[in-house]
């Protein structure tokens, strides 16, 4: 079967790959482009650990046809830190023990980023809704919720007004 070329921006750089026609985006990111940030948990849309932002919107990479991402701008957890400086969400996850085994963490951070990008001042219910599609088998969720609320408080004041 002929491969299809796909080009998109990945965490700010232009990238290109050859995909099988029915490949999902997660396969192309991990196997084709060596971005191992998003994880393969279920391939069914249930666990959320493959979450990425496509043109700023939260999506599940395992259920996204790679070929449909032509020309898109994709952000994964691998692009969250700015060089050696972690994103406020990453710092808050460390400080609040929001990662244990860490398998859900890429999806949790990405879903949390999608929330804060739209709503820099979320309440507890907003946070619970935002991570409703992400399963964590370790933490019992509370530390993750606390970390996201704490990260929102550290955002510059003008973003929160």
């Amino acid at each position: 079967m002929a491969k299809v070329p796909v080009q998109f921006r990945l965490n700010g750089s232009d990238r290109a790959a050859f995909a099988d026609p029915a490949d999902n985006l997660l396969t192309v990111l991990r196997r084709g482009l060596n971005d191992f940030g998003p994880k393969y948990g279920c391939g069914q849309g249930t666990c959320g650990t493959c979450s990425v932002l496509i043109d700023g919107e939260l999506r599940l990479a395992c259920l996204t046809l790679a070929a449909s991402c032509e020309g898109a701008s994709i952000e994964t957890v691998s692009g969250m830190a700015d060089g050696p400086s972690l994103h406020p969400l990453q710092n808050a996850f460390m400080e609040h023990f929001a990662a244990q085994c860490g398998f859900c963490t890429p999806g949790m951070l990405t879903a949390a980023k999608a929330l804060l990008d739209r709503n820099p001042n979320p309440g507890r219910e907003d946070v619970i809704d935002a991570i409703a599609g992400n399963i964590c088998r370790c933490t019992g969720y509370e530390p993750i919720i606390q970390a996201i609320l704490a990260a929102a408080r550290t955002l510059p004041a003008q973003r929160r007004s």
Partner: protein, 273 residues
């Protein structure tokens, strides 16, 4: 032969491709199709993508609402004119799924999915079907679902329905065990014109109470000309189980679904509109 991929620029081109080859699977939001691909249930044939912007268009300002079939749950939630549909759109999956899942795809989702289709059924929605090249034909949703059950595969271009006159006339409830996101024990949508005084032409639809979303005609009849007072609600509850054939699945047994349906119906009707 592994899966191939085709891209159609227009809806009529897509309808033609679908009509010509039964091994073509249309991809909308992909939340169900890609799952079948990942799990090896869909391994050959052709995936068909459609890039026609008309598929995502929304016409919401007037009393007749027209939505392209590829409108997502998130697009419904972002639109204030569609506030009466927000509970139904929010009932589908988590935030990432809602950014992907389309209203057209929801008409094809097997039970206990199809929560949004239940809301559309209570709105007497018309499905705009393209059966090949040519113009779209309006098919009542109920008839469309019956055709789906017979395995007919046709392109849905869009969905149309009238806006409820008063926002409180339209009500939706999804019962699930896991909150805020979980599979349906059941869902109920009710369009109750005249809910402030006497009801005329009620429409009540259930999800997860039969293999397809279906209209609770017994309840509709019981509510005709009644007020939503204790007597009206008792009459509706007494008719609640007419025609139900719920399944037993990992979420609930058929017995449990029957037991709780009248209770939830009563609560939905008792809500202050």
């Amino acid at each position: 032969m592994p899966l191939a991929l085709r891209v159609a620029q227009s809806l009529s081109e897509a309808a033609g491709i679908l009509a010509a080859d039964p091994r073509v699977t249309l991809l909308s939001g992909g939340t169900l199709v890609m799952r079948d691909v990942n799990e090896g249930r869909l391994t050959d044939g052709t995936l068909l993508r459609v890039t026609d912007p008309a598929w995502r268009q929304m016409q919401v300002s007037g009393s007749r609402i027209e939505l392209g079939a590829a409108v997502t749950m998130a697009a419904i939630l972002a639109n204030r004119e569609l506030a009466f549909l927000h509970a139904a759109a929010r009932a589908v999956g988590g935030p990432a799924i809602r950014n992907m899942a389309t209203i057209g795809g929801n008409l094809f989702a097997g039970t206990p999915y199809g929560d949004f289709a239940v809301a559309l059924l209570a709105l007497d929605a018309q499905v705009m079907v393209l059966a090949g090249y040519g113009s779209a034909r309006a098919v009542p949703l109920e008839e469309f679902l019956a055709g789906r059950a017979r395995g007919e595969s046709r392109l849905v271009a869009g969905i149309q329905f009238n806006r409820p006159v008063a926002p409180g006339d339209f009500r939706f409830l999804k019962v699930s065990r896991v909150k805020p996101k979980g599979l349906s024990v059941l869902s109920i949508a009710a369009h109750l014109p005249g809910s402030g005084s006497r009801i005329g032409q009620a429409r009540v639809a259930y999800g997860a109470m039969a293999p397809l979303p279906f209209r609770a005609r017994g309840v509709e009849r019981a509510l005709e000309g009644k007020a939503l007072d204790a007597a009206g609600i008792a009459a509706a509850r007494a008719a609640a189980l007419e025609g139900v054939q719920p399944v037993t699945d990992a979420i609930a047994s058929d017995w449990y679904r029957r037991e709780v349906l009248p209770v939830h119906l009563g609560r939905l009707l008792a809500e202050r509109g």
